[in-house]
Symmetry: C2
Subunit: 204 residues, 2 copies
């Protein structure tokens, strides 16, 4: 009788896939997506060129996989923050804090997603845009739910866009090392400045 036991072990397959993904992330962070040859990824991972294509359909699929993974986690965390309840201020601090912390823990991955996916026309395809929209809608939902805490006339959709935009540029600035430090205290300070500015404005 044929054995049910599959010849390919899914667990080790996934493990190797992740290993390649991590190597690719390092390479992309160093030289950019376009500047990274598939051979560079193979070298970084310590495997042969052709093996990349055993684990990924093509070069684009590697970047997409990175983005989808990060984005899925992000969406779940934001949903968790929302579900947990609390004030609007606490939720916004949670959202901003999560992305800033993600960068502290996984700087390469965040940098690559920010620079190569969110900012590249090429990767703004249907799948990614809809993933994108999911996060925006979730944040917009938070603003709608907390409408009582907002000044009248504040548009939730526009506010969501402005908040994420400001957060994005904050991260971009930190990545470029133009802005503040990378330690936990500096991150906390940036997060608070962002949330305070949004909630209370800069006017005296």
């Amino acid at each position: 009788m044929p054995e049910d036991r599959p010849r390919r072990d899914p667990a080790s397959f996934e493990a190797k896939r992740r290993e390649i993904l991590r190597a690719a992330t390092r390479a992309f962070a160093r030289k950019g997506f376009a500047g990274t040859r598939v051979g560079d990824i193979a070298q970084e991972a310590g495997i042969a060129y052709g093996l990349i294509y055993h684990y990924f359909d093509n070069k684009d699929a590697i970047l997409s996989s990175l983005f989808q993974g990060m984005w899925g986690v992000s969406l779940k965390v934001i949903e968790g923050i929302d579900a947990q309840g609390g004030t609007l201020e606490e939720k916004l601090r949670g959202v901003a804090g999560f992305f800033l912390e993600a960068w502290r823990l996984e700087p390469d991955a965040v940098e690559v997603v920010l620079k190569e996916v969110l900012r590249s026309p090429k990767f703004l395809d249907a799948d990614n845009v809809s993933a994108f929209r999911g996060l925006f809608e979730r944040l917009e939902g938070i603003f709608v739910a907390h409408a009582a805490e907002l000044r009248p006339g504040v548009d939730p959709k526009l506010t969501a866009v402005l908040f994420l935009g400001a957060l994005e540029i904050l991260l971009t600035g930190m990545i470029a090392r133009e802005l503040l430090g990378a330690d936990a205290a500096a991150i906390e300070q940036s997060r608070d400045a962002l949330v305070d500015t949004f909630l209370h404005g800069i006017a005296g």
Copy 2:
């Protein structure tokens, strides 16, 4: 005697250069910089392939020229808004209004600069970064000058980053047609929402 009169007419040379630049801008807006072949630009401009290289050093130089032109004008306008005086609110409204208006009048050019220069690691070279920094510093200067109108503890540099970041994402959203309309009224509304949020916050 040799004539002083130059054989090459600088005025018509510049005119043709601008013509090519406009054709390239259209092509870049439609297919992205990387997706546009030099042949596409030539076709769009109705000239031969090789002639592009008579007017520009290479493909990159075309995009750089577009950026430098736009950025130079922007910096001058922002300086003018600052010099003209007025309240902080008026100045911020002026800055945001200028960029939004620029997009209404020259959508292709603004879109290309936004998507292909500001967001591309490749074009963030020394020249462009320093041009970039000029605008940031000018805006930061405005916040410093109006410190009396600000809440204590507001960091001018961080505020400048957040303001331009939010403005950038607002434009990006409008370009993607996800957000609001493109008519003058919608633009005015977005501009006011941005400035109001920054000055007074969203909290009630």
